[in-house]
Symmetry: none
Subunit: 258 residues, 2 copies
Amino acid sequence: MTDMALDQDRAAGSLYRKVAADLREAITSGSFGEAGRLPAEGALAEQYGVSRGTVRQALAMLRADGLVTSRRGTRRVVLGTARVQSFSELLSFTHWARSMGEEPGGRLESLIRRPADAAEREHLRLEPGTEVYVTLRLRTLSGIPVMVERTVYPPRVGEVVAELPADVVSHTEPLREHGILFTDADHTIDVVAANADDARLLGCRRGSPLLREKRRTTDPTGTPVEWSQDRYLPGTVAFSIHNSLASSALSRHARESD
Amino acid sequence: MTDMALDQDRAAGSLYRKVAADLREAITSGSFGEAGRLPAEGALAEQYGVSRGTVRQALAMLRADGLVTSRRGTRRVVLGTARVQSFSELLSFTHWARSMGEEPGGRLESLIRRPADAAEREHLRLEPGTEVYVTLRLRTLSGIPVMVERTVYPPRVGEVVAELPADVVSHTEPLREHGILFTDADHTIDVVAANADDARLLGCRRGSPLLREKRRTTDPTGTPVEWSQDRYLPGTVAFSIHNSLASSALSRHARESD
DNA sequence: CAGCACAAGTTGGCCAGCCAACTTGGCCCA
DNA sequence: TGGGCCAAGTTGGCTGGCCAACTTGTGCTG
């Protein structure tokens, strides 16, 4: 067993992530059917040649994304087959894609530097006349175009982005190494019609509906580091949120007690 | 009564939840300082008299809630305690509309009672053969149709809903008076094409894109109380989310021009 | 003094096993 | 026939241990 673990270690990903990605794939491809039952944890462990604990770790990810149920005494049940972008992974397209076992890709279409307009100054809290870096990227999952990303960076961040190779997959990872952290984000989701650029890059008709996510990201101090508009092809992505009164109530209790 | 939630949390059976609750309180009360370091997992394990695995399970909760960092090779660091968000807007269309100064309206199109299908049983965690109440409502803002709401209620909730007048604006408010609380929700947002009913009720063409929000709501004990699909006309609404390493919140707001 | 090598400390990950709690279906009995 | 009991199956939870990967401080060396 130990040899096996060592053998699979070379592939640079943790075992439970591979198991999770594989199960995710099986679920979204409908292998277990809609509202079907998953094999027992023990059976999956034997099937993948891992321990039950590892399978449980993988299943915890799927449960967090709302893909499967989890109830003591009963087999797990498939809840939905749509790909879901959970908000714990919303801060990075790359991270999200990899967690699904898909290969994220990105192609830089353009990068220009110009003075910020009024809306951009507002979102990024810049002084009038400040220059911003604007990128247009086509993002792919396993080679298939799924999203067009238009991002505006303030100077401090844009200077780093401009130095990155055009084919770099993740922007947030190299930025983190430069001390630029993405920790907070405001997202707005709605529907928008594809313009000429969108249609050309995504291979859809002009005017066809796209799922739009507008996002403003800040670092821990609240300083904006990114203002972005992502436009997804319908059917490629869904957004998933869990919210609760209980958690906020709990922290309120904690504060009242001191 | 501030200790009540904590006591319940601590008394909630599993060891790792007790450890998590205790650490949560220690963190928010500042025991480790602002941006301070937590003791090592091994030290916590010894302190609480549990295994390191149990401590890791507890810390996974805190990390999921954005309370602490988690990086190989370094002690975990306290990120912060700020967590004040009102979710009331999110859980009720009526409340949200009023907070915008719009007059919410609702017209019940149909209410039927029938056995739950497999998917509904799973989402609402019902026994096979249980009957559910299914409503179809057209919701308006200041008289203008904006959303079609299809909701499936379990028997306990549906029995109350069925007694409500057809023109009642808010469902959640009378339900609250019957002791049925809406506190937790999982949301999924994507794009869907309008079917014949949608088109007729919303006054759009069949096949035109709608913004869809699927929502499963539970009460404080985790028992599902509602499984709903809302379909919004584009341009009438956008979903707004704030997420961060410290907290996560979703709200709904009227679309603004930008 | 600057820089590098190294060791100690810490978290990530995985395993094998054990018991408890819960669900389900079948069997038995009134 | 109907209801209750029971056993098998399944997930929740916990232990103790092991190794790998990474970070940090220390001390040595050029």
